[in-house]
Symmetry: C2
Subunit: 225 residues, 2 copies
DNA sequence: GAATTGGCTTTTGTCTACAGTTTACCGAGC
DNA sequence: GCTCGGTAAACTGTAGACAAAAGCCAATTC
């Protein structure tokens, strides 16, 4: 057997360019989330293709995927439009997110090992110092990483995939809000870690639920403001 | 105004063929769920195209969508393969389904009107008589309709969309099981309706949770059998 | 003056063709 | 007899071209 003689990691998978549609997909998603492409905007295939230096086909395939994931609306014989979030939809999305994240917290409490908990604490520390430095982008990124890590510790791939989709869309809707919730968020994260470390499923669920619900509350206050 | 002079219904929407990719998508999904295309099977684009009488492009787009929804795995430069469910994944999928359905039940209890409850009872009656007649296909279909109706009453579109995906995959994995759970399932449905009618969110959640968990249990017993 | 109809432009939907990769098979060499 | 190298076939990835549908604007008619 050949593989026995190969040390792990010496073959770094020699990264290939990968399918164009993937890169187009990521490029478009980036443009949408950064609001370079604004909600309601008509996405013309030939324009995008020319702008990205590829043909229409990869663009089409990327748009298809963005459509199934809810980022663009694909009106037949008319083209693709960046999805416009409604208040109602945003609220429903948050409801679902709360549900998924809370379950993830419960599973994490049930399954997480000490290594995982250590990783969470590390992320938490990183996030807190980012808050202290006022590095907003890093705060947001670390926050996402923290939630992703909790998902990973939950050990449910299906759940993780769904939550990944939902989370990303939530972050898109709520970017203004996310930037406000600085330090308080990380205090709650600490409490979540404690619950997970204590293997207390019920408490982990509840802390996470309160955490995400807090986000929604902040959002609705924004309207009033 | 012209439309005033036109009786309703005389123009029956003049159903358009609709985009080819849609029909190809549905055709393939049908073939997969009915096991005409079996897990692990290599789907060759040109073959499918020829078989369906279209070109490769619509087939590709359909495969893309099936990929993002988890029905096929799209290995780069190698093609599409019908997804092979693992035991672990099936279990995780059921966990998620339980979660989503339970939440739907809670929301339905909170929001449903008397009309909705009547609709549920009607479906329930239909399902019970189907069981009595031994019409297995109708039982399965009515069961799906019942869950869909609960989702609809919950009034959360995002949740409904996610649950729709998950449910369909669960049904694919568990078709043998679903055919066994005949009458018992509908008894539980009755209890769910009662909880919803009573506006008892907690009880509705719990009944639905028990209901879907029961499905999982039946599945694992199948292994032992 | 307003509504409608006709043609024109733009954009999508589909098909065909070509290039790049991977896989499998077959033969030669050790 | 087994392994390695080369060759060929098949399939995917991408590009370009054509046809159909939708939207828009102007001309025309009541």
């Amino acid at each position: 057997m050949l593989s026995a003689g190969l040390p792990q990691g010496t073959v770094p998978k020699l990264e290939r360019p990968g399918p164009l549609r993937e890169r187009v997909y990521e490029a478009l998603l980036e443009l949408i989330t950064t609001r370079a492409l604004r909600p309601g905007q008509h996405l013309v295939e030939s324009e995008l293709a020319g702008h990205l230096g590829v043909s229409r086909q990869p663009v089409r395939e990327a748009l298809q995927r963005l459509n199934t994931e809810g980022w663009v609306d694909l009106r037949p014989a008319q083209g693709a439009f960046v999805h416009e979030p409604t208040e109602e939809e945003a609220d429903q999305l948050l409801t679902v997110r709360t549900l998924l994240e809370a379950e993830a917290a419960r599973l994490a409490a049930a399954n997480a090992g000490s290594a995982g908990i250590a990783a969470l604490e590390e992320l938490c520390t990183k996030g807190e110092s980012a808050v202290a430095d006022g590095d907003v982008d890093l705060v947001v990124a670390t926050n996402a990483a923290f939630h992703t890590k909790v998902m990973e510790l939950a050990g449910n791939v299906v759940l993780a995939e769904l939550a990944g989709q939902v989370d990303r869309r939530v972050r898109w809707y709520y970017t203004p809000v996310a930037r406000q919730r600085g330090m308080q968020s990380w205090i709650e994260h600490r409490r979540l870690i404690a619950a997970i470390a204590a293997r207390d499923e019920a408490r982990a669920t509840e802390v996470m639920r309160a955490h995400t619900e807090h986000t929604r509350k902040t959002y609705h206050e924004r309207e009033a403001g």
